[in-house]
Amino acid sequence: MRFMVIVKANKDSEAGVLPDQKILAEMGKFNEELVKAGVMLAGEGLQPSSKGARVRFQGSKRTVIDGPFAETKELVAGFWLWQVKSKQEAIEWLKRAPFDEGTEVEIRQVFETADFAPVDPTGELRKKEEELRRTIESKRR
């Protein structure tokens, strides 16, 4: 299963302050470990929200709002995509990440299309098919 590991923004990341050499080196080592273990599928760091934008949908109206955005703690500063066997494995990997005090990182499981029929994500079609089958059978009797 896949997990997205979401690193939240902080004052520094929103100010565009790059992490110092030491942290960069530690993070590099951690990433290398993830790659070597065959766990990391992708991972990126994001620029501050001042370089981003939002699009708000209201009926047919689209409003573009330029960054920066105020709610720093709710913003995303980076992410990984990991391939692991369980949520627990993702947690164990994340515990090894060299984050410093106060950081909180979120782990979210990615929907696997392989888990259900691809054209029928809600099972709606299959359900209808079964109903139809039952109807046909009841008419046969």
Binding site: G38, I91, A117, P118
Partner: protein, 434 residues
């Protein structure tokens, strides 16, 4: 916000998955016996299972397991040394101190090398292919015996037996715990790649069971492949295999229909292909080619897969490139099945007549007698050429040869159609791997 304590058993499972291979590899170097190394690692795991539910999961669970296992190894080596001394005394050949290995260094240094040694020993040609697969998944994939038995739909006792026998075989043959060098490396590496691809294929088109695919197993194989690519970054065929698996795995969710039926490559909804895996696959293929491995058998198969991955629609497929890749593949690994694949690619690139010519050359091929795809492909080409009566015979023959009920129905349908219908311009079934 709820702060929940982690369930220690689940945490232990996860830690085991992450640490077991490195643990076993480090221990194997100390004690020079893979079976024993695994037992020591297991003992450390049991200790964790006893301790952690009470004490909580330690801050650094990997290090905890290492220390626990190392202590057991030290005890064992001391007992052995004692035993050796006694034997020496009996033989009156005391020759000074028995060398004590630097245990910390033994475990902490050269983790990569140890892992690589473990890979090569688990895939040693002295073992049967089944044993290699079981041992690799167990020692390197961190899978339990039960998980392996579920994946391969064999009883758990069978898998356990295989593993026990494999370890005994390795010990009895005194297979050295080392990375092969020189010409030996190429041969041994191909055994490793074979094992990983075998695991992948069992997941990709299951030979047994009700499910057409078992994606879990594909993920296990991919993980092993990616680990190997990290351990042997300069070996082009490792990247070739990883590329092949990444690209094939990108189609996993497209190759099963709503009711679990197989969907063939050219009929797949390409929007369902996993673009992230395709990208990873193309990068790995590029790496294999840059390392001079474009002509390796896995890299060539990956290049075929990449042709399909790059085509936005089935109609955009570069069939002449696929035909030439198969030709190159034939030169490195001659096989009538690859010939047949090439014939199909040629028919798609240059028309059914050219394809039929190649297929007809294969009719006398002994190993293809009884292979349903030969008459199936031939029937399709004949149908395209308007030779419907001959085509019908071939489809019926193919239907009588296949073991798959769904496929048989499809072939009989096509046979019946030949009598009435004009042929649809459709590529032969089984042409390209889905």
């Amino acid at each position: 916000m709820a702060v929940t304590a982690t369930d220690p058993h689940r945490a232990i499972d996860a830690v085991w998955r992450i640490e077991s291979a490195r643990l076993i590899a480090g221990l194997a170097r100390m004690v020079r016996d893979v079976g024993l190394a695994e037992e020591l690692a297991q003992e450390a795991l049991v200790a964790a299972l006893e301790r952690w539910p009470e004490s909580g999961v330690p801050e650094n669970p990997g290090a905890w397991l290492m220390t626990a296992a190392k202590n057991r190894a030290i005890d064992l080596l001391r007992r052995r040394k004692l035993l050796e001394r006694k034997q020496e005394e009996v033989g009156r050949e005391v020759e000074g101190e028995v060398e004590t290995p630097d245990l910390d260094a033994a475990i902490d240094d050269g983790v990569g090398d140890d892992l690589l040694r473990l890979v090569f020993i688990a895939c040693h040609p002295i073992l049967s292919p089944e044993a290699r697969v079981a041992l690799t998944l167990r020692l390197l994939g961190g899978l339990t015996t039960e998980e392996i038995s579920r994946a391969f739909l064999v009883p758990e006792t069978t898998v356990a037996q295989r593993i026990v026998r494999a370890k005994r075989t390795l010990a009895e043959a005194r297979v050295p715990f080392e990375v092969p060098r020189g010409a030996d490396l190429a041969a041994r590496l191909s055994s490793v790649l074979e094992v990983i691809y075998l695991v992948f294929n069992e997941g990709y088109s299951a030979t047994a069971g009700d499910d057409w695919t078992r994606p879990e197993l594909c993920q296990d194989a991919l993980r092993l492949g990616r680990i190997l690519a990290g351990l042997l970054p300069e070996e082009p065929e490792v990247h070739g295999l990883v590329a092949l698996m990444e690209i094939q795995a990108s189609r996993l969710r497209a190759r099963v229909g709503p009711s679990g039926e197989p969907v063939l490559l050219l009929d797949q909804n390409r929007a369902l292909w996993d673009q992230l895996l395709i990208q990873r696959g193309l990068t790995a293929l590029d790496r294999a080619e840059k390392l001079g491995g474009a002509r390796g058998p896995y890299a060539l198969q990956a290049a075929v897969a990449a042709c399909h991955a790059r085509a936005r629609t089935a109609a955009e497929t570069d069939w002449s490139r696929i035909a030439s890749l198969y030709e190159a593949l034939l030169q490195v690994t001659p096989s009538p099945i690859i010939e047949l694949n090439r014939a199909v690619a040629v028919s798609m690139a240059s028309g059914p007549a050219a394809g039929l010519e190649l297929v007809d050359e294969l009719l006398s091929e002994r190993s293809l007698q009884g292979y349903h795809l030969l008459p199936s492909v031939r029937g399709d080409l004949l149908a395209k050429l308007g030779r419907l009566e001959e085509a019908r015979t071939e489809f019926e023959r193919a239907a009588s040869l296949t073991k798959n009920a769904r496929e048989r129905a499809l072939l009989l349908e096509r046979a019946a159609k030949c009598a009435t219908d004009s042929p649809a311009p459709r590529p032969p079934q089984g042409a390209a791997r889905s």
